[in-house]
Symmetry: C2
Subunit: 321 residues, 2 copies
């Protein structure tokens, strides 16, 4: 009985080894390079072998694991929440940009620049216990729909990247998100969407504090930025939370440049990957221009640094799950 | 062959289940309560069952996992490093407290209060790449000796707590350190001393930055405090890094009160543990008074909150490994 179970398990493993780990990737160079890298670091007899404890893989979120146009989905959530808070209490709308958010006036919001956008994030993401915030984001994700695709936001995730995450985990990598987006916002869906638990999410964060409220010990989200996990902040965030230099890094914009640069400069085998949005038919096509996901250095310097530039239109056979 | 290996593995597991998981704990109420809790959360048929992903255990470091008298060992490292930096470059000693540190003048150092101590930590823990800092701490641990025991500092760890960490991990808990001490300082020895990897260390931290130095991408420790992981900071640090409320928490001072309060207030089975230093013969005896490891609220309120107060002298059969 034991022997039979084991034989069955061995047979399953053998099947898995021959199955295609990345079925939504076309048979192009991109797929071959990823598989060759993973084979190299998992082959105990190879010079390129990396012990499982050091198989750290990190991925940006917006534009790398899920879509990011027309604007970061987190901003759309923030605008929605401000509209709801303003309805409950009009005094909450203390500035022109908050009033514009409550009215859904995207033109005024976008014209307000970084300062205005941060005010929206600050006002919509603070003054609430962490648990309530997570529940509110999940509730929003359940009813909100993307303006052009009409899809739930948490279904606008990239099937080929889901397969890459699973493949890496099957090969004993630990997979992290390292995002300029909000730590708590991403945690609200990362476990269900990507199978990435809360302790493997690194992100930007507002301040937090611990308070006993009506006798209930509570961690509360407060106004003010504690950490921006973008550009030079990404290696800093990875060091603070993981304490190891990743060997596999995926991103899509110049906000990811420094973490790719740092990780791929380490000793031993390293893999840098950039998702290049080339697919206007199935998703969006954008890179050097625009206000979201701007990609210049990665295209200019990435290939010489050995990074894989994934061409969504050519390298992926499907986009959505 | 497969069947025989498996039978052997089953036999080993059965032996382990009947072996004493906490051999350095006397057969007192403390040990019985710990084992009853672990049995309860790991029994899949019990109401108290907790899924492995939620078996989060966190421990303070100074005074909980290793000793902390006559002063935090990290301060002794800082003083040693300032003396070395001052020897290389006397201009580095820009203040009276740094000069006192270089001279090993503990009286002046302690009289300088929190401001002076922070200046020593700031000056000794910054201006250095993270990797070099970790190597320097390890180097120091290899040669420094405790003033009264003459033991290496990283051997002044508590054998009963090592057994508790192993026991919890054997029962599919994930064990974290949550310390007021420095993140990088603790990481330098936590994996070897406690089997706790860098991503499971939460601590106070100075600022860090990412720089390309002579073409080498580097994360550098900078002056200035980024986060104090003490008192109200501990639940905040746990939320930021783990994102779940622990079900098992160990501490020894009032700096741990809030994390015990928060964790043990959660739903379902929870365990709060306070190491009470009652053993002047084998270690030290101290609690309500003194400048390190002050314990008042834990003794006054802990028992009513259901926390276990571990009496080192009575509950532990040995202290050091």
């Amino acid at each position: 009985m034991f022997a039979r179970t084991l034989t069955f398990a061995v047979a399953l493993t053998a099947t898995a080894a021959f199955a295609d780990p990345l079925p939504s990737w076309n048979d192009t160079d991109a797929k071959a390079r990823i598989i060759a890298f993973v084979d190299g670091v998992t082959d105990a007899d190879a010079d390129t072998y990396v012990t499982p404890a050091d198989r750290i893989a990190v991925f940006d979120n917006d534009g790398t694991l899920w879509a990011e146009l027309p604007v970061y989905f987190q901003l759309i959530y923030g605008i929605d929440r401000i509209a709801r808070l303003g309805k409950e209490n009009p005094d909450f709308l203390t500035s022109d940009v908050l009033k514009a958010a409550a009215a859904g006036d995207m033109e005024t919001i976008m014209a307000s620049g970084e300062k205005g956008l941060l005010e929206i994030i600050d006002a919509s993401h603070s003054g609430v216990p962490v648990d309530e915030f997570l529940a509110d984001v999940r509730d929003w994700l359940g009813r909100a729909r993307h303006p052009s695709t009409d899809m739930p936001y948490d279904e606008m995730i990239y099937q080929p990247m889901l397969e890459l995450l699973s493949y890496l985990r099957d090969e004993d990598f630990t997979t992290y998100i390292v995002s300029g987006g909000g730590l708590h916002f991403i945690r609200a869906f990362a476990e269900e969407a990507y199978n990435i638990p809360p302790n493997q999410v690194i992100g930007s964060a507002l301040n937090s504090s611990y308070k006993v409220i009506d006798g209930v010990p509570t961690v509360v989200k407060d106004p003010g930025i504690a950490f921006i996990d973008d550009k030079e902040g990404k290696p800093v965030g990875i060091d603070a939370k993981i304490g190891k230099r990743p060997i596999f890094v995926g991103g899509n914009s110049d906000g990811d440049f420094q973490m790719l640069e740092w990780a791929t400069a380490g000793e031993g085998p390293r893999f840098g990957l950039i998702v290049h949005h080339t697919d206007a038919d199935r998703e969006f096509a954008y890179d050097r221009d625009g206000h979201v996901g701007t990609l210049n250095r990665g295209l200019d310097e990435g290939p010489d640094l050995g990074w894989l530039i994934v061409d969504m239109a050519n390298d992926w056979s499907s986009v959505w799950p």
